[in-house]
Amino acid sequence: MPAFLAWSISTAKWRARTNIAENEISADAVTYDMRTTDNTLSFWLYDPTKEGSLEDVALALASVRDNIQRLDLVWVDQQQVEQINLRIETTRGETPARYLQVNHRDVVGIDLSRLVALARNVANAISNNQTRRFTEREVQTRFFATLLKTS
């Protein structure tokens, strides 16, 4: 089974077709969700063979937010990211859930053409339903369940 790289997006921005055709990629979505720092984007490893792997990604991301709100995840094939000549580096993730910190990955060396290629991968992933929306209630429940488990 391939490994995936997951991160949070604003699904509605990717699915909206305001002033663009059906097969085009929304620039609003890219400028919202693909804001790089040091030409790097932050991802979390998602292994579909491991139970609760996606929930772990949600927890890692939700734990550094200001408020509990819904959380949209998308995941792209790690191999496809490597195919566009982007480096994937293991770095310690910023999350208070220490056991999840090792699951963090940085995708490094994103120039404009690679950003477009990566955006295509994301758009394809969304078309293939490689997305999951955790509702506010779900985020809250999982968050507190983990807090109770680890305290």
Binding site: T11, A12, K13, T18, D66, Q69, D72, R133, T135
Partner: protein, 250 residues
């Protein structure tokens, strides 16, 4: 001074007038709240608060404050003649200050002031949306501005937002505003129902998505029943609505 009020907040002249003038609510109260907020966000801004129980001496403090703010501190007297001159001068300044305070009060009570302040807030809100994306779970500067709009001008703000949803222009910014709006409970339940209903009817998925999120965050049975009646053309939104209905039932 009246001209200066139309400029960004500056130090020295923010006053709460309504208790002194015997008005505890209405436009002056809203304006005072706004001024308090604006003054609070600027370093060096001074403010005098005159409580509802304020008497003549408090009013004199207000006037003295105005004198200092607009005429400057008085010099140290050196002789009896100096003192006499200053008393006469002070009387004249107080008269000037009283006129000034009266004009100031008239201005902050006027519809012009409300209109200007409201438009300024809306402009600030749009600017904040351009500068920073609204991301679920993260604070956004637009939220404070939106809250201020709904606290100070509930009727104008609710009408403005409802029009925005109905007008079908700028769906992305409308959705962003709705997503900020669902972080607090604005206006009345009746209005919130109307907003959700109108937003669910929008041809834009972003606006409908924000409407469902509003139902999720406000978590009110009346709104959930609106969602139950809703049939969406986008499968992912149908699924989201079903999730929310399930969450609310649980």
């Amino acid at each position: 001074m009246l001209d200066a009020l139309q400029q960004p907040p500056h130090s020295g002249a923010f006053l709460l007038f309504e208790p002194v003038m015997g008005r505890a609510s209405g436009p002056s109260s809203q304006a005072a709240t706004l001024l308090r907020l604006r003054a609070g966000s600027n370093t060096g801004a001074h403010m005098l608060h005159v409580a509802p129980s304020s008497g003549v001496s408090d009013m004199l403090d207000v006037l003295a404050f105005l004198i200092d703010a607009n005429v400057g501190p008085r010099p140290q007297p050196k002789s009896n003649t100096d003192i006499h001159t200053q008393i006469v001068g002070l009387g004249a300044r107080w008269q000037q200050a009283a006129t000034l305070s009266s004009r100031f009060f008239q201005y902050i009570s006027s519809e012009d002031f409300e209109h200007n302040e409201f438009s300024m807030c809306v402009r600030d809100l749009h600017r904040s949306l351009q500068q920073e994306p609204v991301l679920d779970g993260f604070n956004h500067p637009g939220q404070t501005i939106l809250e201020r709009l709904f606290n100070c001008y509930p009727d104008a703000a609710s009408e403005w937002l409802f029009d925005k949803i109905k007008k079908l222009s700028n769906p992305s910014s409308t959705a962003d505003i709705l997503r900020l709006l669902c972080r607090f409970k604005p206006h009345t339940l009746g209005w919130r129902s109307e907003v959700v209903e109108a937003a669910l009817e929008s041809p834009f998925v972003e606006v409908r998505d924000a409407a469902i999120q509003a139902v999720e965050s406000w978590a009110e049975p009346t709104l959930v029943s609106l969602l139950k009646k809703h049939r969406d053309t986008a499968p992912w939104l149908t699924q989201y609505a079903a999730q929310i209905i399930r969450d609310m039932a649980g």
